[in-house]
């Protein structure tokens, strides 16, 4: 039986292999399971941007783009299966959108020589390109997010939060645990009191955590949640009448899907952002003309302009720009994953470039280098307006506390290098 199944599977894989000539950007998406509310808009945005490039520009540098999609359901075993099934097709870069899958792929991509981009997720210390040559996490990472949230609190309190209590509600996984070290370090620096409240996968059950918040009355709550966990947390916060403007989520906890179900109660909820919101950009005119109106939109086509959809577009745009950079460096349109890595390492995003791409004032400026794979750690605070039904940035982009973060990145990447026998070098 197993042999028969295996033979059938082989046949199917053979049939599925795309042609080698195109630029292949696999999408390890998740449109099912408890994390689908975040996975669907991202996958749609990622696909639509590449469709736009194919339709409008005929691909990148004249090479058509292929985008095989593979469903991971945010599950690491399926993630591995997806990676293995797509890597042979000439995949240029992976963006798994799951910290668990990222951890698994970090050693694999290094061995296979395929770059990986984990914008705002994944292993934070991958910022140190000397240790992680194949992994990139520009423009911002988890520790930047935590630091930006704390800085925002400092701004609100005139630079002193030493008498404040802050609670971290986090997804009890590698993702949610990432900011703990940073928040602890920042606590010693700024003197606030930190409470940790883990929420287990998938996060539908949070009564006890919010009961504790009600009892301890922290001044601020920071949330690192994803999928259904976000909606539940915001609903629970509304139920105990926690002041929403003191409730700050990371960028993965700040989309329409998270706040709309709570209705009026979510008014004033804040989230950290590393890119702008809304659909008031010239790029959307192109998307409408070349993708939406032609009926080529991915998925159900109902996510356009939402926060995570924009993030998908942004993610696709960053790797498309990196591919252009790679084509320029190597003087060939048909780039390989190794060339793609060079492109990513020499990527520079400036305001002029973003304006030319139709996304003015959309994301922070940054420049990638061999030592710094993570950008400069700029972020802003977005706030939800329940009456208008939209997110808006209420601050400018400001930088995270690099003084605290840089040594942490150094320390963690050095530990990884020692554990795996990597010789750091640029």
């Amino acid at each position: 039986m197993k042999l028969k199944l295996a033979a059938l599977a082989l046949g199917a894989v053979m049939a599925a292999g795309p042609a080698m000539a195109d630029l292949v950007f696999p999408s390890l998406s998740y449109r099912t399971g408890p994390y689908a509310p975040g996975g669907i808009p991202f996958a749609d945005g990622y696909a639509d941007y590449f469709t736009l490039l194919n339709e409008r520009d005929g691909g990148i540098g004249g090479e058509k783009i292929q985008m095989p999609e593979c469903e991971t359901a945010y599950n690491t075993e399926k993630g591995v299966e997806c990676y293995e099934s797509t890597k042979g097709s000439g995949a240029l870069v992976y963006q798994p959108l799951s910290t668990g899958i990222t951890y698994q792929l970090i050693p694999k991509v290094a061995a296979d020589g395929i770059p990986m981009l984990t914008s705002g997720l994944g292993r934070t210390s991958a910022k140190n390109g000397a240790v992680f040559p194949w992994v990139f996490n520009f423009p911002a990472n988890y520790w930047d997010g935590a630091s930006i949230a704390i800085k925002h609190m400092l701004d609100l309190n005139g630079g002193d939060i030493s008498d404040k209590k802050i609670a971290l509600v986090y997804h009890n996984s590698a993702y949610g645990k990432e900011p703990i070290r940073t928040l602890e370090e920042l606590a010693t620096k700024h003197g606030y009191e930190l409470t940790l409240l883990p929420v287990d996968h998938p996060g539908q059950e949070q009564k006890s955590q919010w009961l504790q918040i009600r009892r301890e009355k922290p001044d601020y709550v920071i949330m690192y949640g994803w999928g259904v966990m976000n909606q539940v947390a915001i609903q629970e916060a509304a139920n105990i009448r926690f002041p929403m403007e003191n409730f700050i989520g990371i960028w993965w906890s700040g989309s329409e899907n998270d706040v709309v179900p709570v209705g009026e109660g979510a008014h004033g909820y804040k989230a950290v952002a590393f890119h702008n919101v809304g659909d008031d950009y010239p790029l959307y005119d192109d998307l409408k003309a070349y993708v939406f109106d032609k009926g080529l939109a991915a998925g159900a086509g109902d996510q356009h302009g939402s926060v995570v959809y924009n993030r998908g577009v942004y993610a696709a745009m960053l790797v498309a720009e990196a591919a252009k950079a790679a084509q320029e460096i190597h003087g060939t349109a048909a780039i390989t994953p190794v060339m793609m890595r060079d492109g990513m390492e020499n990527l520079e995003m400036t305001e002029e470039k973003m304006t030319a791409l139709g996304l003015p004032k959309f994301g922070p400026e940054f420049k990638v280098s061999c030592e710094n794979h993570g950008g400069n750690g700029y972020g802003a605070i977005a706030q939800w307006d329940a009456t208008a039904g939209e997110w808006s940035l209420i601050t400018d982009y400001f930088q995270s506390d690099q003084e605290v973060l840089a040594p942490l990145v150094e320390e963690d990447s050095a530990a990884y290098a020692a554990e795996n026998g990597i010789e750091p070098g640029c």
């Binding site: 199944l5 599977a9 449109r31 469903e71 299966e81 668990g100 050693p107 963690d412």
Partner: protein, 358 residues
């Protein structure tokens, strides 16, 4: 025509009692072994190893382990995920503490540690039975996952709480880590599967297995004829946990390379392995393989057929996959409540008479 005893004379008890007494069956078994050991390693690639063979082999070990407990000894357990986690964390601690020791020894030791933990959580089985025991083992599942999340010593104080396996070798060949050759990982797991199946098969038809089955069929009667329930139940827990621990160790170190306890070893894993045992056939080693193949390979096959072959949207295919696998489980269990192993037995009986059934 096939599977006939006719002309197959046995002249000693050993021959008569062998696992495959029928010549045709025996040769088929040898052929499978030769194919698995001598052909597959040469043709295998990364995709086949990581998407098909490793999960199949590793889940087969877990299913064999659970089958000993549930199928042979009749003690329902929902703690498989937790025990796999024990194996994974044990091997992680061992491989980081003693980097120079062969992985082979680490995996075995991880199994031994899990056996100890299994015995500990098997103690309630002396007083409670059936569904109540299931609830007690469910507590083990949640407790163990909580423990590995809570105590940083288990994950060597890493910032994210993830454990990831560094490169370790057997006889100088890397078995874990990203540089592992597909054939090495495959052969390493295959050796464990073969050994597990052999040991399990021989345990279950020896004195230990007979005691387990006596306890399963009627514990009071078993006690009266002289089976010590304490020893029988605890050995079943120990042996079962040993195999489950090995599978957990391989699952983490060879297959995934990095795990997070809540996601990889949650309650879903316990149910998955239990379903493998039930669908494959309780009290059958072959059933463990069949169940693992059914639940591991079928989704991959369906995904490849629907998305790769027909180009359907991935979410539609993922949902259809649930429906088809779920439907097939129901159909199989209605058609044959004793699982795929019983279907196989019936097929063999039919083939024996074919083409002259009367």
């Amino acid at each position: 025509m096939f599977y006939r005893e006719a002309g197959d004379f046995k002249t000693s008890y050993t021959e008569d009692n062998q696992t495959f007494p029928i010549k045709f069956d025996r040769y088929r078994y040898y052929a499978v072994l030769v194919f698995a050991f001598a052909v597959v390693p040469f043709v295998i690639n990364d995709y086949w190893v990581n998407a098909v063979f490793l999960p199949f082999l590793i889940y087969a070990i877990a299913a064999i382990g659970l089958n000993i407990l549930v199928g042979y000894c009749g003690q329902v357990s929902l703690g498989t995920g937790g025990f796999m986690a024990v194996g994974a964390y044990a091997v992680y601690k061992l491989m980081t503490a003693f980097p120079d020791v062969s992985m082979f020894i680490h995996v075995i030791l991880a199994g031994v540690i899990t056996a100890g933990v299994g015995v500990l959580f098997g103690l309630p089985s002396l007083r409670i039975k059936g569904f109540y025991l299931a609830v007690a083992t469910l507590a083990a599942q949640f407790f163990l996952v909580w423990l590995f999340n809570r105590v940083p010593w288990f994950y060597n104080y890493s910032a994210s709480g993830q454990i990831s396996s560094p490169e370790r070798t057997v006889l100088g060949v890397p078995i874990t880590g990203a540089e592992t050759a597909p054939w090495a990982a495959y052969l390493f797991c295959l050796v464990f599967v073969t050994l597990s199946a052999l040991v399990a098969r021989n345990l279950t038809r020896g004195m230990a297995g007979r005691k387990w089955m006596a306890i399963r069929d009627m514990d009071i009667a078993a006690e009266i004829i002289g089976v010590n329930p304490l020893k029988a139940k605890l050995t079943a827990f120990a042996v079962s946990s040993f195999f489950v621990g090995i599978s957990g160790a391989l699952f983490f170190s060879v297959y995934l390379g990095a795990v997070e306890v809540g996601e990889a070893f949650g309650i879903n894993k316990s149910f998955l392995v239990l379903f493998m045992v039930i669908i494959g056939g309780l009290g059958s080693i072959f059933g463990s393989f069949a169940g693992a193949a059914f639940l591991v390979l079928l989704p991959v096959l369906l995904k490849n057929a629907l998305v790769g072959g027909m180009g359907w949207p991935t979410d539609l295919a993922a949902h259809l996959e649930f429906i088809i696998v779920g439907g097939l489980i129901i159909i199989f269990l209605i058609a044959e409540p004793h699982g795929l192993a019983q279907l196989w037995r019936v097929t063999k009986e039919k083939l024996r008479l074919w083409p002259f059934p009367h």
